[in-house]
């Protein structure tokens, strides 16, 4: 049976209103909604499609606080078989490398045939965890995957380059694929799936349980502060009722000689 790991991150919901904390350390995230990172949803769907086609176990893992368990339950509801929830106060300020180390420690004895991650997260947008995890597991990786085909221990993928060009590459298994959004159409968890998810195993692990300590995952990248970008010259804003605005836009388009 094929064993597949999908790493996912819980991030602020797309429609959540985001504000910077008064000390600038991060966003104000006490009272906002969270969801599975978009890229990771596509990664999960890609794994679930393999499971649908044959004999495979899909394991989902996340590094995140208590609330991230909800995203694992959602993934189990969508069809994943079991979940690993890694959290420890020592991970609170870690960076991509620390997260990759925690995931690698959880994955190393499992001998996964395939590992899926998203290309990046929609919050910090670093895009480093996947390739780092592959390096720590000593397996090859490829990022920006928009198509996969699995046969005889090989994976043929299409990787997105610039301007719509695609690279076709072949990787031996085990390997890690960091997928791009749009690779598939992500399913929703069914009611039945959500009911079944409650009975599926969800293992919690802290740093000690992974054979790590806070020093091993101490961040090498630190955020000093985040802030709303200073407004440059920016756009000249047009105000008024819809009709008034439309009138002003028409005047501008005429001035451009396009009407």
């Amino acid at each position: 049976m094929k064993k597949i790991l999908v790493c996912l991150k819980q991030v602020p919901h797309k429609d959540a209103r985001l504000d910077v904390r008064s000390d600038g350390s991060w966003i104000q995230d006490d009272n906002i909604k969270f969801e599975i990172n978009d890229y990771d949803s596509y990664a999960l769907e890609e794994a679930l499609r393999l499971k649908d086609k044959g004999d495979a176990e899909v394991v989902v893992a996340t590094v995140g606080p208590e609330r991230a368990g909800q995203s694992l339950r959602t993934a189990l509801g969508m069809g994943a078989d079991r979940a690993i929830h890694i959290w420890d106060d020592g991970l609170a300020n870690t960076d991509g490398l620390g997260i990759a180390k925690a995931l690698a420690a959880a994955a190393k004895d499992e001998n996964f045939d395939l590992v899926f991650t998203g290309l990046m997260s929609d919050d910090a947008n670093h895009g480093v965890t996947g390739p780092m995890l592959a390096e720590l597991l000593d397996i090859p990786h490829i990022t920006g995957v928009v198509k996969t085909e699995f046969n005889n221990g090989e994976v043929e993928v299409e990787r997105e380059l610039e301007g719509g060009a695609l690279e076709v590459a072949s990787l031996p298994q085990p390997c890690l694929l960091a997928v791009q959004t749009g690779i598939n159409e992500v399913r929703y968890a069914s009611l039945k799936g959500i009911m079944q998810a409650k009975k599926k195993p969800l293992d919690k692990k802290d740093l000690g349980g992974l054979g790590l300590d806070a020093a091993a995952v101490a961040p090498k990248l630190t955020v000093e502060k985040i802030y709303t970008p200073p407004k440059g010259e920016g756009a000249e804003l047009v105000e008024g009722s819809a009709d008034e605005v439309a009138g002003k836009l028409v005047a501008k388009i005429k001035e451009l000689g396009l009407l």
């Binding site: 910077v20 990786h141 719509g164 590459a169 985040i226 970008p229 836009l249």
Partner: protein
């Protein structure tokens, strides 16, 4: 004295502009500069980089580097890092750059920051500035550990224009890759070519559902005699085909007028349209990054503004 290693990139036989931008970024920081070029039969490009400010250019020139693979390129960069002991490694944030850079950081067990658009010096160490939350915020980052690794956003720095008499040295490195490149497929031509459109009206996630493209956006497209474009989330959701996508992974456009409707302006979209001659943005969020590149902005409900605009254009044409 600090030392920066820049990792250049050759695309279809040509030294990338982004590499000369790294030269600028490295020279702004001061200190020693060493460049690395990886490829097969690339002596000419190495000579070019040396003349264009790349300093000492190390060349990993080997049939094993014919195609980019993370495995092979990481080995070459690692060798250069071991040979030169740089304090900072700069790599362009391109599909190859973002693929290899984190692997290298894990190999070196060091800190990495990606998609940086500005590097400042503060207290003798670099502070890296980049966007996060898809452009909604900026962040200032510091790296501990050595060497520091940063990927730099293409276009954020001007290409270095000075000339110099650098040198070229071979970097002796062999490489093997578990990943094999089968080939590259060029972008699909035709279908929906936006490159020659005078006016483009693009819709984003703000349109809320696929039916709103024909029902709400199309009347404005028709009134302006424009072509329709879209942002990535719209294409990812399958609302419009891929060839409608404007952005770094879609089409890069430069029309006389670009109207962005319900598009927040993630960097990957901005890269594809910011050089349009005139940009009008309609979005309900006053903090949306799209307003930073727009010439004229409307903060409001697109479902009111767009129909009113389509009607007003129709009336203006009738006059």
């Amino acid at each position: 004295m600090s030392k920066t290693l820049i990792v250049g990139e050759i695309q279809e036989g040509v030294l990338r502009e982004a590499t000369l931008e790294l030269v600028t970024a490295a020279r702004e920081l001061g200190g020693d500069l060493v460049s690395l070029l990886i490829g097969n039969e690339i002596q000419d490009q190495a000579g070019e980089l040396a003349k264009k400010g790349g300093g000492k250019v190390l060349v990993a020139d080997n049939a094993a580097f014919e195609s980019y693979t993370a495995d092979a390129h990481a080995q070459a960069i690692l060798k250069a890092a071991q040979t030169e002991s740089p304090d900072l490694i700069l790599i362009s944030n391109t599909p190859n750059g973002w693929d290899v850079a984190p692997k290298l950081a894990a190999k070196l067990d060091t800190g990495i920051v990606t998609d940086v658009f500005k590097i400042e010096q503060e207290g003798g160490e670099p502070v890296f500035i980049r966007r996060l939350f898809n452009g909604k915020f900026n962040g200032r980052f510091r790296i501990s550990g050595s060497p520091r690794i940063a990927t730099v956003q293409p276009g954020a720095h001007a290409a270095y224009e000075g000339s110099d008499s650098g040198s070229v040295e071979a970097l002796d490195v062999s490489a093997e890759s578990r990943t094999k490149v089968v080939g590259v497929r060029a972008a699909e031509a035709g279908g929906h070519d936006l490159s020659k459109a005078e006016i483009i009206v693009s819709g984003g996630r703000g349109l809320a559902k696929p039916e709103n493209f024909p029902e709400v956006l199309q009347p404005l497209v028709d009134a302006l005699g424009a072509q329709m474009g879209a942002s990535r989330p719209v294409v990812d959701a399958g609302w419009l085909p891929h060839n409608y996508q404007v952005g770094s992974s879609g089409q890069v456009v430069q029309p006389k007028l670009y109207v962005a409707v319900g598009i927040s302006g993630a960097i990957q979209h901005l890269v594809g349209m910011k050089n349009s001659n005139y940009i009008i943005a309609i979005n309900k969020d006053p903090d949306a990054p799209i307003f930073e590149v727009a010439d004229l902005g409307v903060v409001g409900d697109l479902f009111e503004v767009v129909p009113a605009l389509a009607k007003a254009i129709g009336e203006a044409k009738g006059n």
